[in-house]
Symmetry: D2
Subunit: 333 residues, 4 copies
């Protein structure tokens, strides 16, 4: 049995808790949230206990690993504390909004950084995983182009935008990681964007629409397009083009039903409404993988360095947006 403590009982924390409850060989030892009501409700629902404090949870010998799903500004501190207490960590993205803090965290961890897995759930999506596996198996030859389409169904409220760190750190961060998952290291970034969806977002100094172009160390070209709003549902597609062919991961739908009627043919259900539905399998696989790695003592598939690299790309995109220049990535920074 692997004992797990959950820090953070918000939307994503509750999702992970429900998945943990269904994962064989795992015990959700306790949950914690600064909002004690949220912790109590979740503990009751899942028949587990509420930790009185972070420290209490970390001192609990039954706890082998910690799942960090708290607000972003607490991530690095909780990582450091948890690892210091000898725990494994699965930390939600991003590591931090500040690249330097993320790097400092990793530097303080040293070799212990290997105890931390970053929660880039999309890597565990069956379709994206299949694309990478087939690419690596040589099915489409040498990688040449990647097109990532990533559009949210509707913009978050201004309060969320305000603390989000901006589109690139909050939303594109997943796409930066997906770029690296498919194309490996990135050497330069060019970004453009604007506020086309919601003027309130612009009023807060953020953008809601973006296009990013990158080049990988092997010369592959990568395009990301983002929007905070797609009326037809959460739009999450991946196109990988190589010397011998093309792999396309399309949107998921709840059913396979297609309807035809007066004036139209072949209308499918809407795409999955949002990430909880779209990536339900991915979240389950992520947790299962985290637990398996702990049990088998194998390296985590997504590291703190991956978290830092994605954040670095987000920062570079921000610079490019400001300067209208292509920004070169220095991975030694």
């Amino acid at each position: 049995m692997t004992g797990i403590a959950l820090f953070g009982c918000g939307r994503i924390g509750r999702l992970h808790a429900a998945n943990l409850a269904r994962t064989p060989g795992v015990t959700l030892v306790c949950v914690y949230d600064v909002m004690q009501g949220a912790a109590n409700a979740l503990a009751t629902e899942l028949g587990t206990s509420v930790a009185p404090s972070i420290e209490a949870a970390l001192n609990d010998e039954r706890v082998d690993a910690v799942l960090i799903a708290t607000s972003t500004d607490t991530h690095t501190d909780l990582i450091l504390q948890s690892v210091a207490a000898g725990k494994y960590v699965l930390c939600e993205k991003p590591v931090d909004l500040e690249l330097q803090r993320a790097i400092a965290c990793r530097d303080r961890l040293g070799t212990q950084a290997s105890r931390v897995m970053m929660g880039f759930n999309r890597r565990f999506d069956p379709s994206f995983e299949a694309v990478r596996r087939r690419l690596e198996a040589g099915e489409i030859g040498r990688l040449e182009q990647v097109i990532i389409t990533s559009r949210d169904p509707s913009p978050p409220p201004p309060a969320y935008i305000r603390v989000s760190g901006g589109l690139f750190r909050d939303m594109t961060i997943h796409d930066f990681d997906m770029s690296r998952f498919i194309a490996g290291n990135i050497v330069d970034v060019s970004a453009t964007g604007g506020c086309l969806v919601d003027p309130e977002i612009g009023a807060l100094g953020d953008i809601d629409s973006a296009m990013i172009t990158m080049k990988s160390a092997t010369g592959a070209l990568v395009h990301i397009n983002n929007s905070r709003r797609a009326v037809y549902g959460y739009d999450q597609r991946l196109e990988v083009f190589g010397s011998d062919g093309l792999l396309l991961a399309k949107n998921r739908h709840e059913t396979t039903v297609e309807a035809s009627g007066t004036g139209f043919t072949g209308r499918a259900d809407p795409a999955a409404p949002f990430f909880l539905e779209r990536y339900s399998e991915a979240y389950r696989a992520e947790i299962a993988r985290f637990v398996t790695c702990i049990r088998d003592e194998t390296p985590f598939p997504v590291t703190l360095d991956d978290g830092i690299a994605a954040l670095r790309l987000a920062q570079a995109a921000q610079e490019s947006l400001a300067s209208s220049k292509t920004v070169t990535i220095d991975d030694r920074a």
Copy 2:
């Protein structure tokens, strides 16, 4: 140059005339219709002449071949007259509403029956043709099942139904021919149906919805479904299933555009509205093939015997509908 006379200037006659005008190496020598106004209008539009009578057209030495697009009850007489005058014939389906008259026509023609091509346009559709070619090339192994979906966009007026010969002879006749095109000779037929679309059709003693099951000489099973009305457009699909795979010819659309919006994803244009649009390429290819066969003195790809065989299946389906029994086909009849 191959000189052609067109008999019948209705909807299908005008379509053929327009295609003839665009076919290199062909001259539309004259047109004829019992409605002289229709003949005059078409002749003016295409810059050709109106034949004063059938006889005049058949006596015209410039006329090598005749395209018969008149009402069904005139087909056999015109075939006999035209062949007697030494012309080649492309005759619209069906040969006749009465199987015995069609057989009598063929018997009177004897070896001259080879001068007649039947106008089963769907055999020339690029997709159906590709299905047959790939089946014959062995791509899906031995043929086991055929599913033909054939639904008109909307029912014809009662006046049309009254002289149509009934659903099987008028509409399914094409599907019977398609069955033979794909599966070869048919040995038994079972049919059911009803009046689900338009009570006026039922009042005239006809049906507007049908399902037919047949067995081919090789044991392959064939299903046809028909409806006189599909609100999403002319529904013309073909599924061919074999020991090594499946070939599906789907509906054609005018563009490749797919739309997504609130509540839906991937909505295509409606299917082609009706046969003039759906089979536009097929009609052109049919005419071109007719002319090529004449020029090269090669056998026509669709014979009078094919026309008779389809009519025989229509008659068997009618019997099966009445008797609720499977009707065995005797091709020697």
Copy 3:
């Protein structure tokens, strides 16, 4: 907590057991199989106990309900015993191979028949369920035609065929139930078929390929096509055609990935390999629904009468195959 005893620890029994283990509010009290080794293995795997006998399980007060996944010939006896012991029953299809035995079972149960739910898993498939819900909501108007495509990936071994009761009772039974799920009561059946896939099946007096046509009480036409082998995977599609449109439930694939390469475009994964994968969600939903109905004391969605009706259609199809006649269904029989 709802306590459940599982009778039968074969392939389908193990599937249900695994689903039960993941269903909240359910305890798998014990398992039983005439092959004691199978029972022991499953009990160990899931941390439950082995019942020493059927009787012991039925006398166990913790057992509220019984899941019957034993061989078909034991179904009616186990249903009667279980209901007599005051248990609810979820029984795998078919009720029995003999229609008269199934009817006798129901007659003996009288009003207690309502304690029995039949395991027609496909009714719980999200796509088929959506088709029915949308049909009932009026989205495509009045029902006119149903096309059920149901092809297994590969034929079962002769030993299975020998005790299967024949294609109609073993395989088509699901499609007969699906026909009723969509079109309601059926009034006549016409069937044809042959042995096209595996001569060994023919040698055993069975067929491996079939086409069935039926008419519903409302006049809707229903077509089923079956094959014991589809090289491209388990082919399970449903087409429902109405006065205002069409609903198509297509095959499910493990991922949304489409590949293009030299000579082809848009190749998807194979369809789900077989029923365990294809209907994984349906099996889970079936169990969940069974438990919910017990808990809420609401009627089961699939009754013993549904099981009998499907069996009656299978028998009628068998008669039609032998007689080449349409067989009228008498539901009072």
Copy 4:
């Protein structure tokens, strides 16, 4: 009758000539090519005459319009000569490889520039045209993003590359025009690329793979991706994303057939092999539109200014590629 002279009897010239021969109301008066053999062959094939010289053709009173399909370096001179002779002009893209020469040409023409139509055939593709029409009709609300995928099936020979003017002027020029067709005026351009397909192209100082990002005057973001090689066929897609939905124009296939077999499902024909096939309808519509505009004395839908604007974007992309900076477009230049 509109009389037309064709200058240039190469691949694209012959295509236009064949289309002209089938366009009602048009006479191909004469053809001309510096390679007299090519002119003779085409004239014989289509039953027209060979002009002894450009001047002779331009002095021919029967010639109302000139179709320029010669090598790019002759375009501006032939435009000037033809307009001076009172003819209308349909000129193949690009106007010239040098932006300044194209501008000089337009300036010399002054108001007479309205006699020139540029041959951006893709604007006449039924699917791309439908996308624009539906966008303009408001179907997807306000335009926010455009994704143009444009990949050739295989790279041209080095001899072609050498005189092509580079990827942006030769190949992307169409995509620049498509960007303007959909998104209107462009205000900035950022480009990246590399030589991933064919080292010979790199050796000639050109690139064969590119990604371009642009912003329109209304703030819409536009992405183009290019490759000189797609093994699955000519890849020409258009995605237009707006506040109320998405329009996707997908690749065209010769048939609607989809095949399934061992290990795969739903494989379509390859995409159209190359532009002659992919844009066959577009080329016909282009010619028809050109002739209709002349006859009706309405403005041409694609102007010399459109040709210059596309060339300006190609030049800006070239600058951006060299400088790694976003280049601002000055349309007054």
